[in-house]
Point group: C2
Chain length 301, copies 2
């Protein structure tokens, strides 16, 4: 045994795999766990630790949960094979899925019941930054949870926002970011398609708008996908009914009217209904194009 | 008479006055015209040319129209005291108001009937950049119109986007930019206010989101107004029922559904209905705050 800290990354999708790679690169003893065997084997070949999660659990310093949603988070932490009851006291769980603030608070309480620390730690930045270890983490939790999570945070993140001592604040900030991101992608699509009805080519749209007050981070990131006709998923349409659904659930609980989030949600639902759930989220423009009879770049008339 | 080009700037509001100042600084003989005498006198004191628009018209090389909308543009060009019939052939009109593409095309045709050139030239960048001569101009028109307008464009703009040989393209791009800008301001307000219901302070919201994928140019520009509780108008709420109204008119003419623009429009109309038309457009957050019972920075509970 070395002095190296031990971490398990649960969920080796595009984000989780990159987090695990970053942990290996930072010198942490890194166990990967996923329902699919492929990425687990691949991670081991890249320097991941041998042994199953069940075998390793008692020796872990930290568990990073990078699954899709609250239900999966709860299952891997407290389900029939849940990891939390097997962790040593003082180990820390980093919850990275986009979840409701209430859910994050509940996870923190249940972890505390096992003597385990919990950091509410949703992530932002995409797969490329996950692999580079330069994510943004929107984190909240006790000072003890931050301290225990520090080696992992140092490995995976360029920026850690410390948003308070209670779980929930991190998830609330993530929801707010997703509201904006989801609205901005749909607004990009709406504006680009409206421009097409007026004879503005998508490339001209981007060349001009990126220098104007109408620009956004998402516009500059996603508009090239439309221009290239490339809807291979960097981030899927399917993310948005989930994440904007969460935003609208939080808003409803707070009796908060969120008309832009609600309008954007309808466009992503329509995209999913068109069979585009697995395409890149820039494909939301296909909803507008279909409705307006427009031919997008890469399509044949 | 010197070799200096002569230009009249019609409409000396916050944008037009800055354009006129930039023309003076660039060495153009610059006449200012406005329905209000105050800014006209002030411009003369800053180096503007003496003499009325009527007296100067026959000697002008260019006329820059920086009024509020299409109706005012038509009035100053072709109304009872309209300037176009008094211009010499080959003079150029720069139409800078945010108008419908069809209206810009109609103005170009009517100018052509008088031997006058027309550049569809809506502007972006705000009052500060107007005064510095660093606006963005979204321009379209004939090569002759661009050539005739060049000394004025050089004086007023940092960037001139040349969007085609026909009037209308510039105005279409401006409408597309306004769709995005209007949606992004309302989205900033919606997200910041939702965050407040979850305990996220407005300053924390900005500090975090500006580093995340949810950011936009408008968010970074307008959120500080809310944080400072400063709604002195850099750009008024009243702009948006006008500009998003134009966007929705263009969309309707094209049978194009624009649900985000429509949703944002309702929030600006509600703000105007609350009596906020003359406040800074960041005040759209007051609609959200009122509905959710939130106390904004600078307000007393």
């Amino acid at each position: 045994m070395s002095d190296s800290k031990s971490v398990a990354v649960i969920g080796l999708g595009s984000m989780g795999y990159g987090v695990a790679q970053s942990c290996i690169r930072a010198g942490l003893t890194t166990y990967g766990h996923d329902v699919a065997p492929g990425p687990v084997d691949r991670l081991r070949a890249e320097g991941g630790a041998a042994g199953t999660l069940a075998e390793a659990a008692g020796s872990l310093d930290a568990v990073v949960v990078v699954v899709l949603n609250a239900a999966q988070t709860e299952a891997v932490l407290f389900g029939p094979d849940g990891v939390v009851p097997r962790l040593r006291p003082g180990a820390v769980v980093l919850g990275c899925a986009t979840v409701a603030p209430d859910f994050a608070r509940a996870m923190a309480e249940r972890c505390a019941g096992h003597g385990v620390l919990f950091l509410d730690a949703p992530i932002s930045g995409g797969a490329a930054r996950a692999a580079q270890g330069t994510l943004s983490v929107l984190a909240s939790g006790t000072a003890e949870a931050f301290a225990a999570a520090r080696p992992v945070l140092d490995a995976m993140a360029e920026t850690v926002f410390e948003l308070g001592e209670a779980a929930g604040a991190g998830s609330a900030m993530k929801a707010v970011n997703q509201l904006l991101a989801g609205v901005h992608i749909a607004a990009m699509a709406e504006a680009m398609a409206l421009g097409m009805t007026q004879g503005i080519a998508p490339k001209t749209f981007l060349d001009v708008i990126r220098h104007c007050a109408g620009t956004s981070w998402m516009l500059e990131n996603r508009a090239p996908h439309v221009i290239d006709g490339d809807y291979s998923p960097k981030s899927q349409i399917a993310i948005w009914p989930k994440d904007l659904g969460l935003v609208l659930d939080i808003a409803r609980s707070a009796s908060f009217g969120a008309p832009l989030a609600a309008a954007a949600m309808q466009q992503y639902l329509a995209a999913a209904g068109m069979g585009l759930a697995r395409e890149d989220d820039a494909a939301v423009i296909k909803v507008y194009a279909r409705n307006a009879g427009l031919t997008l770049p890469g399509e044949t008339e």
